[in-house]
Amino acid sequence: MADEIDFTTGDAGASSTYPMQCSALRKNGFVVLKGRPCKIVEMSTSKTGKHGHAKVHLVGIDIFTGKKYEDICPSTHNMDVPNIKRNDYQLICIQDGYLSLLTETGEVREDLKLPEGELGKEIEGKYNAGEDVQVSLNYSEG
């Protein structure tokens, strides 16, 4: 039985965002809000006065800290979108609170901590029960 577990982490260093017109952003997509890479969880539009132009109200969740950020901007403006990458790994073992993960190219990564809280417990539980565990990681560059 394969269990999919998602969690997110970040690579510091290389800066990589690209601009996108605010109205082209989509729910479940990503955007930089207040300097943080966020997953968009809510998007709504409004206008000031009947003949005003659309403004977009964005609510995003920081993909690393889970903190909520909000912003409102004219829908014609450009927003920064973080480059998010996502990798799937096979969990090989857990040692001293660190995960050993097998990449798709056959290499092993051991620099990731077992996450705290429910998610960590669940990974550990499944691992101890001898189940196959897949781990998905989201990266944001920058």
Partner: protein, 1188 residues
Amino acid sequence: MMAAALGPPEVIAQLENAAKVLMGRERTVAVGASSPVGAVALVRKGGPGARKRHHLPWLTLSSASMLSIYSYHLGSQNHHLQFASIFWCLVSSPETSKVDYVLFQAATAIMEAVVREWILLEKGSIESLRTFLLTYVLQRPHLQKYVREQILLAVAVIVKRGSLDKSIDCKSIFHEVSQLISSGNPTVQTLACSILTALLSEFSSSSKTSNIGLSMEFHGNCKRVFQEEDLRQIFLLTVEVLQEFSRREHLSAQMSSVFQRYLALANHVLSWNFLPPNLGRHYIAMFESSQNVLLKPTESWREALLDSRVMELFFTVHRKIREDSDMAQDSLQCLAQLASLHGPVFPDEGAQVDYLAHFIEGLLGTINGIEIEDSEAVGISSIISNLITVFPRNVLTAIPRELFSSFVNCLTHLTCSFGRSAALEEVLDKDDMVYMEAYDRLLESWLTLVQDDKHFHKGFFTQHAVQVFNSYIQCHLAAPDGTRNLTANGVASREEEEISELQEDDRDQFSDQLASVGMLGRIAAEHCIPLLTSLLEERVTRLHGQLQRQQQQQLLASPTSGSADSKTLDDLYEDIHWLILVTGYLLADDTQGETPLIPPEIMEYSIKHSSEVDINTTLQILGSPGEKASSIPGYNRTDSVIRLLSAILRVSEVESRAIRADLTHLLSPQMGKDIVWFLKRWAKTYLLVDEKLYDQISVPFSTAFGADTEGSQWIVGYLLQKVLSNLSVCSSEQGLADDTVQLLVTLVERRERANLVIQCENWWNLAKQFASRSPPLNFLSSPVQRTLMKALVLGGFAHMDTETKQQYWTEVLQPLQQRFLRVINQENFPQTCQQEEVKQEITATLEALCGIAEATQVDNVAILFNFLMDFLTNCIGLMEVYKNTPETVNLIIEVFVEVAHKQICYLGESKAMNLYEACLTLLQVYSKNNLGRQRIDVTAEEEQYQDLLLIMELLTNLLSKEFIDFSDTDEVFRGQEPGPAASRSVSAADVVLYGVNLILPLMSQDLLKFPTLCNQYYKLITFICEIFPEKIPQLPEDLFKSLMYSLELGMTSMSSEVCQLCLEALTPLAEQCAKAQETDAPLFLATRHFLKLVFDMLVLQKHSTEMTTAAGEAFYTLVCLHQAEYSELVETLLSSQQDPVIYQRLADAFNKLTASSTPPALDRKQKMAFLKSLEEFMANVGGLLCVK
């Protein structure tokens, strides 16, 4: 229990004693040393012992609620006790405020008990109980209101129940009441009014009626008897009281409150929903729920209602109290009801004419020359609206001419004045928009009035229409032409409020008003069309000038003059906004599905003037939207309708030019929406006008917009240009983009128009641009992209030569396929698939596929289906790649849902099988990827289960082929088939059952808490049971069990809607068992269990009456299947009855129930007979075992 041994006569004797004690008593004896619990314990004991205990002052609220629980539980077993105990309670409660609640509960319990024990009680005792209750209330004027009303309700219920077996005569009650009224004592008169109100509510058989466990038929019969005699009696009593009051000069506060109550009672009577003599049981429920009741009494009311003094009385009453807003509401409502009088009450048309004339005189006499109060507006508008809707035109025109024209003048005056007040309300942002409501109603009345040209000569209403139209325009234009946003003292108010995207557009919010005003505009076309044209043309010029000014300021980089300029622009935009909306509603109708016709008034208007019109100048005006209309020589000799259209094209042109000049930020997206909305509405009706549909056609129209004319070719080109211009800038304005692509769809959805469209170069540019997925089109939101794709596909079915067609599809569809294949066939696709640009590419393709499916029509399904099928296979591969990206997975499933939804009904056997196979594979992949997947998100919301919902939708769509099927054995695919359909490998049932296999384990009870998921799920499983009952026994054991469990759960703990679905699923299942005759099959055993469930549901539990039919059908089929078990159930139930009387009653009822269908057999006639007996059964003993 001591009292258990007492028979009914003893109990009654006891009650009478108790009543005597009560009536004669004023002694209060306090008994000490007992807790509230003790008090309840005493209540429980009941019987003679208790009677001696006298008062228990500590019988507090908690014991009151215990009492109600107690009476609830005891209902079926020791019902004799109940009377005694309740009475004891009533008797023993001291008159402190704390016991009000106990009294209230006691009255409720009495009411329920009397109904339940009715046939066991002696009629005399019931009679004395009723007298006792009335006396009780009479003697205690200071009872809390709610207690008094509840006791009176009990009296009313007794009277109503008694009317069934004629044991109780209403007459005596009326006698008592009229004595009370004549007492002159306000308190007593109020009480009399309460009695009458209670009777009225009880007999009205509406939602106000108490639930006494009797059939709708009983309620209906009671109501019919009541409305013939007693209701009229009440009305006459009420009228007498009102007459008495209206004669008095001064009313004390107390008197005035009594007056108000009787007025409300009169309203109650006049709003009575008279039940026609022969109305089936099913219609009764529907009938009673109707909202707007008109007064249609039976013939016997003639004398009472046609007496002109009655009508006059209500006018007099209103004049007297009109300043009291509460009472005025009632008096106006009474008048509105009288204004709706119709039916057999009128002996002939003459009587109706007299009545109407008299009424209008009274009305005009009341409202002419007075300042109407705010609180009167709605009432007066309902009176007028009722008069106009209810009285036939020939009656309306038969009243004296003078009178009728004063009436119409008065209506005109009121409409204009309410319109102005409504505008004021908007400026002040009032919560309660009374004038708006009144205005709406009057405008609606106009619509009914003017749409009849048989009874009124042409032009009869023109002058009035002009007035109402002018005042509407005036209220919606800014100063100096209009009064928009001006407060009463002429001060302009302007507020910039935040408007959310959910706010309805004016054209929808005010659609009714606009439709009426548009209609009035057509009637007065001579005046209104030129008016709109000049208002628009003048504003276009101003808008153009203002935009140029602001552009120059920008170029000079002068400090932004700011708010003054933006106010000027906003005012212009708002003016143009309303002018476009009115023009749109005036020139064309909005029809769904059918071809809208040019309104006859407009056609006639154009024809009438066509001799004075210069066609060439008209075409010139139309074809030069960039120039001022008045700059064209001879501009006054143009067709006015075309000139009005060209005025809007001029607005549109100013907008397009501003976009080209990079002034988009100064434009109003709202006005942009209005323009394309108008053009769409106009194009549907006028573009390529089909001359066959009209008796006569205006030459200017056919020259300018007819088939094969330069005019129409030019307009199509212009509209397409407009669409492109909008789409290039409006990716940031969702609403504008939506309306724009809708215009595009309109242009191509009819073949004739599409033929012109595809001749335009711009169309091909659009197709190429969209296929290349480059900005700006790829920035459009996904619904807009879908619709755009739909339009492009529809356009492809226009008439083209083969070569062109080939080229078109190469431009439109092939790139889609190529790009898609290029992406997914890349070697490293599994690695790159999560890259944003790859994902966007994939998403855009999937959206486009949905759009293609949406474009399906009967004549293109063959091509589209084959095209889409290729993709579907690839999409399944994508499921694998994107298994961890739910939004993409959902979109893939959505493609399948759309294809199934739009195409399955046209597919022949073999094509359908292809689709089934694809769906099956999709489900298999989905299942593999989701097995063991846990959704650990604690904040799970419904939308996270979108995939489940989509899959259920897909399955339901596949099933729908079983009842909606237009396919003609692959007719549309002729020539593509290798021969007769290959052997059937996959059927709908296979896919659906596989899908259910997949869905069932995932549909946990938690998920069923989400209403949409729950409903979709039960809809699906009911469909399956109905369509493939033979497949159910073949299900794997686990699946079978969970399906049965789902059904049970649905019947026992879900909404009544779901319960009904489950009951509907049971009948085919039981029939399936009967066919199979395998008595050890799991389904057979399961149906046995359901028999018990349905039995309990019908016999023991409270359930809504509308469920009885579904439950009854299921029940009968189950009984046929399990006759022995059914007898056993009945036996068990009977043997648990200790009371011989109850036992007998139940046994008789059960015998009767199956008498008509012994032995029960699955045959329609017997089933119907059973259902009928079941209804009787429910009425007879339904309330006996079911305690409410």
